[in-house]
């Protein structure tokens, strides 16, 4: 990537802003959607400081993208406030631009015109604007493709257009919403190192060459630990349902960063441990072994996946480190944690710190014949309070069975994640033939008789 001299006019709105204020700041931010309201973000406090690259790391569904949109002023928070350069943000943040996961290019405009959208509304002369467009296209290495249309480009090239469009605005803050996750592994890697160089140049330009004029900070959203460690100066770790900031970690890995550098690897492990610990504290203790009859929150995973995890553990001597299990299964960490949590709820696995091991029930499940497996699972399911509760409801509703929607309404009243819990529970119970339910009329009955024939 070449460092190029971008246009000379400075966006005057930035001049009045003090360097000391964070470019963007969320204070006690709450976001809820729909009615009845589903809480997506709760009490989020973060700030993007001038000159830093900040990564927001979290499992899917933790509200990362929502947070980004709230910070940019694209959606109205339901509580708390957003500050831009120290003042309360009204409307869209004047100094941000976004690189989208889905590229968000207009298919009917050429590369040049798509990038041209980036300078819309800026107070530039035609001459300067044109030069800036050309320079941004060169900066991402797309010279020669000015007149091509998005559909003629590969995924990686499309994202380069997306980056050029965002840079053309010469933003204070460049937001990247999972910018590499729609790309194949190799393209993602190439683009990631180019963005790394871009961030580094933006860093240095504060003192000298002003390579990318105006750009001070980068905010990147990701679910990949390595990506965060590779790019960011600080990493915000988020947990899901509702999205909360779990911790903020300073990334001390020295530049230039390499994946196999010991410092890099130890940072990755450290983050890994923090994420797992956070999950432990937040949810496992809360629900496992609830003697008081509280209805458990079940993660949205399938029974075959849970059994799959037990099988993998079994193949590795019945006990494994979470980090190694993650490597082995190539699952996203957030999802793997959900699976382990589900296994723990069913007492098929047990966790001790970072160590996951197979329980006696888990061993007998794997040892059983396929027809007996359902019986093992059924008896494990009966241990759940929420299972007992559902069985009770269904047996009270008589011959015709219970209505799924009624049950969902009742469960939502008892615990906040009733809908997804019921969804998982019904799937598990159907798998174990404890319950059966027909999707068309939505009735739930006891036993697995209906679908056996």
């Amino acid at each position: 990537m070449v460092s190029a001299q971008l246009g000379t006019t400075f966006n005057p709105e930035y001049l009045s802003m003090s360097i000391d204020h964070p470019i963007c700041e969320a204070r006690a931010l709450d976001v809820s959607f729909g009615s009845p309201a589903v809480e997506v973000l709760r009490g989020v406090d973060i700030e993007v400081r001038p000159g830093e690259t900040l990564a927001i790391l979290g499992p899917s569904g933790c509200g990362k993208s929502t947070l980004l949109r709230a910070l940019c002023g694209l959606l109205q928070p339901s509580g708390g406030e957003i500050l831009a350069n120290g003042t309360r943000l009204e409307g869209v943040h004047p100094g941000v631009s976004i690189v989208f996961q889905s590229f968000a290019l207009l298919p009917w405009l050429s590369v040049q015109d798509n990038v041209g959208l980036g300078v819309n509304g800026l107070d530039l002369t035609d001459e300067v604007a044109r030069r800036r467009i050309t320079e941004c296209i060169e900066l991402v290495g797309l010279d020669g493709f000015e007149h091509a249309f998005p559909k003629e480009l590969s995924g990686g090239m499309k994202q380069r257009v997306g980056i050029a469009r965002a840079l053309a605005r010469s933003p204070q803050l460049l937001c990247m919403d999972e910018p590499f996750s729609a790309l194949d592994v190799f393209t993602a890697e190439t683009l990631r190192s180019e963005v790394y160089r871009l961030c580094r140049e933006a860093d240095e330009d504060l003192d000298e060459s002003r390579a990318i004029e105006g750009l001070r900070s980068v905010l990147i959203i990701t679910h990949i630990i390595e990506e965060a460690v590779f790019l960011a100066d600080r990493i915000v770790v988020m947990s899901a349902r509702p999205g909360e900031v779990q911790c903020v970690i300073d990334n001390t890995v020295p530049h230039p960063r390499e994946y196999h550098d010991p410092a890099f690897e130890s940072m990755v492990r450290r983050l890994h441990t923090r994420i797992v610990e956070g999950e432990d504290l937040d949810e496992f203790d809360q629900v496992v072994g609830t003697a008081d009859g509280r209805l458990e929150v079940l993660p949205e995973v399938t029974m075959s996946e849970i059994i799959g995890v037990v099988e993998v553990l079994h193949d590795h001597g019945n006990s494994m480190d979470l980090f190694d299990l993650d490597e082995e299964t190539e699952e996203e960490l957030g999802r793997l944690l959900s699976l382990v949590k589900a296994g723990e709820l069913l007492d098929l696995v047990d966790t001790d710190g970072n160590r996951v091991s197979v329980t006696a029930a888990g061993t007998s499940l794997l040892g059983a014949e396929s027809s007996d497996r359902k019986d093992v699972l059924a008896s494990q399911l009966q241990r759940l309070n929420v299972m007992q509760w559902v069985i009770e409801q269904v047996s009270q509703s008589g011959e015709d069975g219970a209505d799924r929607e009624d049950l969902e309404v009742a469960l939502v009243r008892r615990q906040p994640h009733g809908a997804s819990t019921l969804h998982s529970l019904l799937a598990w119970a159907r798998f174990a033939e404890v319950l059966s339910w027909t999707a068309e009329d939505g009735t739930i009955t006891l036993g697995g008789a209906v679908y056996r024939g």
Binding site: R69, C72, L74, V92, V96, S97, I98, F100, S102, F103, A104, L105, L106, P107, W108, L109, Q112, D113, G116, L117, G118, V119, N120, G121, L122, D123, L124, T125, D126, E127, V128, A129, R130, I133, E146, H147, F149, P150, K151, K158, R165, R169, A439, E440
Partner: protein, 589 residues
């Protein structure tokens, strides 16, 4: 084809929309109130128009007439397009407006075009007296009612399906609402717009013969055009001229389709949102010809060069700061204005409904000189039976036919266009011919009427059966061969369920078409004068004869019952079947 084309797509949405019965009732009342006011005007309009333009049945006049008809369709189309852009974008952006505007389209398209004909014509003639302009306007508005609803709904849906990230791009880059519309919404919905324009324009021809020439009470209305030319030729039993006129009409229809809409459809592909190339993009010979031409190529190269020079910034110089202030000001003014408008609207609605009720009150259960409520209900029942018969008979031949054509790419490639031409030819244009021919063989008219309805609507089932047959996954068919299923088992277990969503669309569209066709199929005038009238009791013949005799009470009663019946039937039957499609017969999941 008002009812048909939109109905199919609306219902998919309806099944997802819960409640809304109150909205439906309110909107129905509103539209009926409008009808009431129009009818009131129509009744008062007595003088004014006398002249029946003579239709010159010489072949040399035909091109001129064809051009006039085409101009009417185009004018109506421009009107529809304007309506579409305004109605569709308001509905897509304003949540509260959406809740009213979308069901309103749904209800508007269940009211048959021809019920609007007498009041609209008379009102316009009264407004623009002493010339043919009023009649022309009425005719254009009639064609408009056959085109607009479908296009507006399609446009609304296209806007709604634009990915939210594109809107975020617009916001971050401060495009403003006008440029968001021009750069994102209009291009983003271009394919839907062109496609629906094509369908609507084709639908506009359907009632041409009826709209260009009709009688209202004692008055005979005619406009020079290919529709009235054909109608006159048929009523005078000049079959040679009918053949020539039909050929001209086919040329006109196929011509506009091939020369205008196909190229437009190909052009619109550049606005496709999914950024991959589709495996089978639409093709047009005229576009290929155009692209292959060396002159065009040269011109294009020069234009590209020019554009490259000109392109640069699209910056608007001044940031608009006063916007917020303006909005606040507007809100202050708008609030009382909106309240007043609402009040006025409610008053107007009450008045319209009052007029409608006043019109309906004298109507007895059964009266000896005309028709009463009893006839209306009997007619509704009989027409419903005919519609059901049309669907059953239509399905019996079109489903196997569609399977055969749809499954063989060779058959599809040469039979497809033939079916398209046959289907796009407006069936009412040969109803007189069919009635006379079958009548001379001694066929009773009660048997001919459903046959005419069948001619008008079976194509929708055939098209969808073909589409459904093409969409059956190849691995399901291979599986049925491996399992050695017989043809009946294969049809029952594999083909019919896989085609089911397509067939539902076909049936809904065909039923809509059949209801609309009742008006021209249950009442056919084969020659001038009362002895040339063939009719059989039905809702369509009641509407048509009430139009002829200027019996507004019956017209209102029949329209009202038909609209209510169709709406209730849509909600109770079709939208449930759509729900079933989305769950059990969904091949995606």
């Amino acid at each position: 084809m008002a009812i048909g084309l939109v109905g199919a797509r609306n219902l998919g949405r309806l099944s997802r929309r819960s409640g809304g019965i109150l909205t439906d009732a309110l909107l129905l009342a509103l539209i009926l109130a409008a009808l009431g006011v129009l009818l009131l005007y129509g009744r008062q309009a007595t003088g004014g128009y006398h002249r029946a333009a003579d239709i010159d049945l010489s072949i040399t006049s035909l091109p001129g007439y064809a051009a006039l008809s085409l101009a009417r369709c185009l004018a109506a189309f421009v009107l529809s397009l304007l309506f579409t852009l305004v109605w569709g974008s308001i509905a897509a952006h304003n949540r509260r407006a959406e809740r009213i505007m979308i069901p309103a389209l749904d209800i508007l398209q269940t009211i048959p075009v021809l019920s609007f004909l007498p009041p609209v014509t008379l009102a316009l003639i009264m407004l623009v007296p002493g010339s043919e302009i009023g009649l022309e306007l009425a005719c254009i508005i009639m064609i408009f009612t056959g085109q607009a609803w479908n296009m507006a709904f399609g446009f609304y849906q296209s806007i709604r399906s634009i990915p939210p990230s594109l809107y975020e791009v617009a916001k971050i880059n401060r495009l403003g609402s006008v440029r968001t519309f021009l750069h994102i919404e209009l291009p983003g919905s271009m394919i839907g717009l062109v496609y629906n324009s094509m369908m609507s324009f084709a639908g506009g021809w359907f009632f041409l013969t009826t709209i260009e020439m009709f009688t209202l009470g004692q008055r005979d209305f005619r406009l020079p055009g290919i529709g009235s030319w054909l109608a006159t030729a048929q009523q005078e039993h000049k079959w040679g001229l009918v053949a020539v006129g039909s050929l001209a009409l086919i040329i006109l229809i196929v011509g506009t389709d091939q020369l205008v809409f196909r190229p437009l459809l190909v052009w619109a592909q550049r606005f496709k949102i999914e950024e991959q190339e589709s495996s089978q993009p639409p093709r047009s010979w005229i576009v290929s010809l155009w692209r292959r031409s060396p002159i065009v190529r040269m011109l294009r190269r020069r234009r590209d060069a020019r554009l490259a020079v000109r392109h640069g910034s699209q910056s608007s110089k001044r940031p608009r700061r006063a916007e917020g202030h303006h909005t606040a000001l507007w809100c202050g003014v708008l609030k009382p204005v909106r309240g007043l408008a609402l009040l006025a609207g409610a008053a107007a609605m009450a008045w319209g409904l009052y007029e409608l009720v006043r019109l309906l009150i004298p109507l007895e259960w059964s009266s000896n000189q005309g028709s009463g409520w009893g006839d209306v209900l009997a007619g509704l029942g009989l027409s419903f039976a005919r519609v059901v018969a049309v669907l059953v008979i239509g399905s019996i031949w079109t489903i196997p036919m569609g399977l055969i054509i749809g499954r063989s790419s060779r058959l599809r490639s040469w039979l497809g266009p033939v079916v398209q031409v046959v289907a796009s030819y407006p069936a009412p244009a040969y109803f007189v011919l069919l009635t006379v021919t079958l009548g001379s063989l001694g066929t009773p008219f009660w048997f001919i009427a459903p046959l005419l309805m069948l001619m008008g609507s079976q194509w929708y089932i055939l098209f969808n059966a073909m589409g459904g047959a093409t969409a059956i996954p190849a691995d399901l068919l291979e599986m049925s061969r491996i399992q050695q299923l017989g043809w009946w088992a294969r049809f029952r277990k594999v083909e019919a369920p896989a085609m089911f969503p397509f067939l539902i669309t076909g049936w809904v569209t065909a039923a809509g078409g059949a209801w609309n066709t009742t008006i021209v199929a249950e009442y056919v005038q084969t020659s001038v004068g009362p002895e040339g009238v063939h009719e059989t009791l039905g809702i369509g013949s009641l509407i048509a004869s009430a139009t002829d005799q200027g019996d507004y009470a019956v017209l209102a009663a029949a329209t009202l019952s038909l609209a209510v019946f169709v709406i209730v039937f849509n909600r109770l039957v079709w939208s449930r079947l759509y729900g079933l499609c989305a769950t059990r017969y969904n091949l995606q999941s």
